[in-house]
């Protein structure tokens, strides 16, 4: 194991972005004002749930999967080696989406270029040339990338 050594050191109180079947555990905020005497605390109007990264990254839990990115073909789109790509299969792939496609039996992450009958997969790194899908062949798109997760070894 090399590039993702940094996830080994997680401890219990650091909550990772998780696709675990159970909903994430978070503490419910307490509502502790006394009703009878005086005015209610104005702060209670602003009581809200904490931020939940699952909610931010995942719209359709049943359709969302994580992939580990290898290599830097999408570097200029901000996706680098070791990143975890969040992939939502329920999203209909469109021109300009970053997608996971199946090419020669392998998964590849690229930007989908689809104008009229032309279908191409574009890397975001000048050292890679576009993959052109022949007019009479099919391109299998596994899912649409809707986010990227990265942790630093701090």
């Amino acid at each position: 194991m090399n590039s993702h050594n940094h996830i080994v050191m997680r401890t219990l109180h650091q909550t990772p972005v998780s696709l675990a079947p159970e909903p994430s555990v978070h503490e419910a905020p307490l509502f502790l004002y006394k009703v009878a005497a005086g005015f209610p605390s104005p702060a209670t109007d602003y009581m809200e749930d904490g931020l939940d990264l699952n909610e931010f990254l995942i719209q359709h839990k049943a359709a969302t999967f994580l992939f580990r990115v290898q290599g830097n073909s999408m570097r200029d789109a901000g996706i680098v080696d070791g990143d975890k790509a969040v992939v939502d299969r329920s999203v209909e792939p469109q021109h300009n989406h970053i997608v996971i496609a199946v090419v020669d039996g392998e998964y590849t992450i690229k930007r989908l270029y689809r104008v009229r009958d032309r279908i191409e997969l574009h890397a975001e790194n000048p050292t890679y040339s576009p993959i052109v899908i022949a007019a009479d062949s099919q391109l299998e798109i596994w899912g649409v990338v809707v986010g990227v997760v990265r942790r630093y070894p701090a």
Partner: protein, 441 residues
């Protein structure tokens, strides 16, 4: 439903039950293919625990004549000749994919009974109109599951569960249905034609032995069965058969069970990867099984009154001396505490263990289960100790849920787990383990 429909004489039929049976085609193999495109169009089998025999086959493997449960060592020549890919079972992956399928379906139709890891019954009579009818609804379920999870399903629809199963069989075997068949929408003639074409042995609940007896009575097709004298069948085969025939005639006898009944016993057992000779190593395996079983016990809010522990030599090795030992160890007080159950199981193991044998398998079964909330007080009851135990078990389960089973366990279950089962060719746990995610370049 419109008001007009409500006032017609047919109004009483509006909410007659209608069941859909949705099941995933070759479930385990299909799960493997979602994450490994190279397995597409390749003959694939998934092997049972310990890589013993085939528990799932791709269509290509079925076409080669490989039967369910075929021992893998007998297939070795086929493997070379046809390039069959054999995978160890990856139940972690299958379980996660199964949950996803159910949650996609629950979004579309809330009345759902999860019947097995790859099959669910859905009541659709109140929801089908939202999707433009039963068959369109079936296609929406099928397409949605396929797109969201990557898994192919077939949908069978009928007035009863048994007919939904029957329709599912038709959908699966006949490509012209595109994976969705509604026998309730068929004309009587058409339905009878299908019933004549399909063997009685394909009916849900009719096993091989019963179908052999039916054939002796000249009942060969499904149609023969529905036209037979139901009283005579009942005399020969009992009430279960009577119910099956009623269901095939469209009278619903089996309701949707939305909550699976609590298990009466919880079992955890497995064969060892290699033969085991010492009580220390077998003890570790027994303790691990107690862990797994106790976790299930707490999940269904039960407590156990006793634990059965057993060990076995390899009955397939005739030349080896054979010994099977097992005993039930009753608990002083009912419990769901892994530690108390482990102590009891290890006590039992010490009693049944005999030196000089090569052991192949061990396991435990939690028995005399009762609902935790209606447990009876005993003479030696200690409420404080019980509360303490509950807190420890809660923490144990929470840690293991987040970090994977076995992260936190009693020291009795060992550190290296040399007894772990053989699974030489298991695919990564793509959806549940950070270090095993699928790779994309």
């Amino acid at each position: 439903m419109t008001n007009v429909a409500d006032t017609t004489p047919r109004a009483t039929n509006v909410h007659q039950p209608l069941f859909a049976l949705v099941d995933v085609n070759n479930f385990y193999v299909s799960c493997e293919r979602v994450f490994n495109p190279r397995l597409e169009q390749v003959p694939v089998v998934v092997l049972s625990n310990n890589d013993g025999c085939a528990v799932a086959r791709s269509n290509e493997v079925k076409a080669l004549g490989v039967k369910m449960g075929a021992p893998w060592f007998k297939l070795k020549d086929l493997e070379k000749k046809h390039g069959i890919v054999a995978l160890s079972s990856n139940y972690t992956l299958y379980g996660d994919m199964s949950n996803r399928v159910v949650s996609v379906m629950r979004d579309l139709a809330p009345d759902i009974e999860v019947y097995s890891i790859d099959e669910s019954f859905i009541r659709i009579e109140r929801t089908a109109h939202l999707y433009g009818g039963t068959v369109p609804m079936g296609h929406i379920i099928r397409n949605r599951v396929r797109q969201w999870t990557g898994l192919p399903v077939c949908v069978g629809i009928g007035e009863t569960k048994t007919l939904a199963k029957f329709a599912n069989h038709i959908a699966k075997k006949n490509n012209e249905f595109n994976g969705v068949c509604d026998v309730a929408a068929m004309s009587l003639d058409e339905r009878n034609q299908w019933m004549r074409r399909i063997d009685v042995g394909e009916v849900w609940g009719i096993g091989r032995r019963i179908s052999e007896r039916l054939i002796k009575l000249k009942i060969q097709s499904v149609h023969d069965l529905v036209s037979a004298d139901i009283k005579r069948l009942r005399a020969h085969f009992g009430v279960v058969m009577e119910r099956t025939v009623s269901e095939l005639r469209g009278v619903s006898c089996l309701a949707l069970e939305d909550v699976a009944p609590s298990k009466q016993q919880i079992m955890s057992s497995r064969s060892f990867g290699t033969m085991m000779h010492t009580i220390e190593l077998i003890g570790e395996a027994v303790a691990w099984h107690v862990h797994a079983a106790a976790e299930k016990l707490r999940a269904q809010h039960s407590v156990a009154g006793a634990i059965y522990v057993f060990i076995q030599t390899n009955r397939f090795r005739d030349s080896d001396p054979q010994y099977n030992g097992g005993m039930v160890v009753p608990l002083a007080d009912v419990s769901d505490d892994t530690r108390a159950l482990t102590t009891a199981a290890l006590h039992g193991l010490r009693r049944i263990f005999r030196d000089g044998y090569a052991y192949k398998k061990c396991g435990v079964m939690l028995i005399e289960l009762q609902d935790k909330r209606i447990r009876q007080e005993t003479l030696f009851d200690d409420p404080q100790a019980r509360a303490r135990s509950a807190r420890v078990m809660l923490a144990l389960d929470a840690v293991n849920r987040v970090w994977g089973r076995g992260t936190l366990r009693t020291a009795a279950s060992g550190i290296t787990q040399r007894w772990a089962m053989r699974s030489e060719n298991r695919s990564p746990r793509y959806t549940t383990h950070w270090r095993e995610l699928p790779v994309v370049r």
